[in-house]
């Protein structure tokens, strides 16, 4: 019995550790904001954190397959721009267009990585230029308009329901479903050992392309969420999400070399980074310190991770 318990705990070490950290942060947070656990506050905060959570899920998907996506921020901005530009003609159509744009840019990244024989870093870095340009063509100046009813319902609750929370839960359920399919299994296999996966009959190229496309869907949803939260679009807003999505994934224990990691840990880690950034504002420091904090979190997270795993394997 106790053996099974420690076994379960070890398997979820990252989730448990992050959960504990999150509790500490929430306690500190409620010290500054006594209304933290009211529905209104939860709705607003979840609307604010949704883009990073979904972007981090996208980055984790790519990293699980052994890749990396440096164009994530540009794709997020592209989805946001497409949605903001088309939202007045019908939110559903705009959302579908934005998702299609994000998924196809993701698939294009995947094709380049799978067939070009170029490392993902350089492909996605060059692609970030390309998608950044497309975003500027769609939306040269910050603008666009999201219907105010939707913005209000999203940020302040809709019949008492926190829509962003529902979206995150729905995406997690979707991920759970994907995990149980053949593709979900292949994703971990390709990331863990590409040669082995290929030798056991997995179409590694197709899996990679599908992974980047799925990441595109997640990132597209993040961009739509950001557009609804802010009520408009901005072509240059995406850049910080690239770094923060990598930081969240690393913090969650998703390996840089692929094949290792859990999506629920990624969600917790993204929440953690979001809360940390907000806490920084409460302490009265200038928001300029945010970038320093984010960079430092990334270095500390990965250094701790590296030393922890080295102890276990050596």
């Amino acid at each position: 019995m106790s053996e099974r318990l420690t076994g379960a705990l070890r398997g979820n070490l990252d989730v448990a550790g992050l959960g504990a950290l999150l509790v500490v942060l929430l306690a500190a947070y409620s010290h500054y904001d006594s209304e933290l656990f009211t529905p209104a506050s939860i709705t607003i905060l979840s609307a604010q954190f949704l883009p990073l959570i979904l972007a981090a899920m996208g980055q984790s998907t790519v990293m699980l397959a052994g890749g990396i996506d440096l164009s994530l921020g540009s794709v997020l901005a592209l989805a946001m721009a497409v949605f903001a530009v088309r939202a007045e003609d019908g939110v559903v159509v705009a959302g579908a267009l934005a998702l299609a744009a994000a998924a196809s840019t993701g698939a294009a990244n995947g094709v380049l990585v799978a067939y070009a024989g170029l490392p993902p870093i350089i492909v996605t870095l060059a692609a970030s230029f390309l998608w950044g340009g497309v975003t500027l063509v769609v939306l040269p100046q910050p603008g666009g308009h999201v219907p105010s009813g939707l913005v209000d319902a999203y940020n302040n609750g809709w019949n008492g329901l926190a829509l962003p929370v529902l979206v995150i839960v729905a995406v997690l359920v979707l991920w759970k479903a994907v995990r149980t399919t053949r593709f979900g299994l292949s994703l971990y296999a390709v990331g863990g050992n590409e040669h082995g996966a290929y030798a056991s009959g997995i179409g590694t190229r197709k899996v990679k392309i599908a992974a980047y496309a799925l990441a595109g869907v997640f990132v597209g949803l993040a961009g739509i969420g950001l557009a609804i939260q802010t009520g408009s679009g901005d072509a240059t807003i995406g850049a910080p999400y690239t770094l923060n999505s990598i930081a969240a994934s690393v913090l969650a224990g998703v390996s840089f070399f692929g094949g290792v990691g859990q999506m629920r840990a990624t969600v917790l880690a993204a929440l953690l980074i979001g809360l940390l950034t907000n806490l920084l504002l409460f302490t009265g420091l200038s928001p300029f310190y945010q970038l320093i904090l984010q960079g430092a979190v990334l270095i500390v997270a990965i250094a701790v991770k590296t030393f922890a795993t080295r102890e276990r394997t050596d």
Partner: protein, 314 residues
């Protein structure tokens, strides 16, 4: 194909290929575009290519040991902003010295993270780049100064027997880098690490010392480029380094150096930087919007990478 009839040495020499492609592109530009056939246009081109080229030479050192430096964009801005800030208070020379010291410190931090904390180079340099960007925001309070530093202005704009001084500086730096990488002991270590870290460490190659030299030199050169840019424009901005992140890596790879490290030549990077600057100038001569220009440049870079920088792995 004509390539088959060429002597084997030339066929395998990717740096020579880079100069060949550059020559063809340049002739094409002279024949089909306006304003590329005068001496002054050549002069302007090599002068502006020097900014990218200096960063590219540093990037080559890091890429050759299978690292990557994504913090160069931050360091270019760092040195220009710090120099402008310090120079307005305590004189140009002090500004230059402080800026270069600050730049080298970033390189030392990168090398320390990569060797001692064992953080993957991409993540480490992405994080330090972000921290530098944040630190600059805090340092300047969001509004960096402009400054006329006579020394830098003449370095960037003056000519010696008709040749821009910036170009001569670039050539001098390249000559030192050729010696460092292709004739010195450290250079042999860099190539060894690029071809296989485990094996070279096992045979006594000092990883730490090599990494400190390579990352330190890369940051120093990014700092130098920032100073020349400051001299050229007389203003500093927080985002002035941004284009150099992708373009410096692209110039290295287009110059025939393997992005995985261990193969290539510094001289190839000179061709790569000249080619990218030529392409940018060609695009600027067309009357197209910023977004479309970025798309075309992104596609061109991806196309060029596909054409002759592919790695045959597995």
């Amino acid at each position: 194909m004509t390539a088959i009839t060429l002597p084997r040495g030339l066929r395998d020499n990717r740096a020579a290929w880079a100069f060949g492609v550059l020559l063809v592109t340049w002739i094409g530009a002279i024949l089909f575009a306006k304003g590329f056939d005068s001496v002054s246009s050549v002069r302007y081109l090599v002068q502006t290519a020097a900014f990218l080229g200096i960063v590219g030479v540093g990037q080559t050192l890091v890429v050759m040991m299978s690292g990557i430096d994504l913090s160069v964009s931050g360091v270019v801005a760092l040195s220009a902003v710090v120099c402008a800030q310090v120079a307005s208070g305590s004189g140009g020379t002090t500004g230059v010295v402080v800026a270069l010291v600050a730049s080298v410190l970033v390189g030392i931090a990168n090398a320390a993270g990569v060797t001692w904390l064992r953080v993957p180079p991409m993540v480490m340099t992405l994080a330090t780049g972000t921290i530098v960007a944040g630190a600059l925001l805090v340092y300047t309070n969001g509004s960096p100064k402009s400054a006329k530093v006579p020394l830098l202005a003449s370095l960037a704009n003056d000519r010696v027997v008709g040749i821009p001084l910036a170009f001569l500086l670039w050539l001098g730096i390249t000559a030192v880098a050729v010696w460092l990488l292709h004739a010195s002991r450290i250079g042999r270590y860099v190539f060894a690490l690029g071809n296989g870290e485990r094996a070279s460490r096992a045979s006594g190659v000092p990883l730490a010392r090599t990494a400190f030299v390579a990352y330190g030199a890369c940051s120093l050169l990014a700092g130098v480029a920032g100073l020349v840019l400051l001299g050229f424009t007389s203003t500093s901005s927080l985002t002035m380094g941004n284009p150099y992140q992708l373009l410096s890596i692209a110039s290295v790879v287009l110059g025939g150096t393997s992005i995985l490290g261990g193969r290539g030549h510094v001289l190839g990077t000179v061709a790569g930087a000249l080619m990218l600057t030529l392409l940018t100038a060609l695009l600027a001569s067309w009357n197209i919007s910023e977004g479309v220009r970025q798309i075309v440049l992104g596609l061109l870079i991806i196309g060029l990478l596909l054409a002759y920088a592919r790695e045959r792995r597995s």
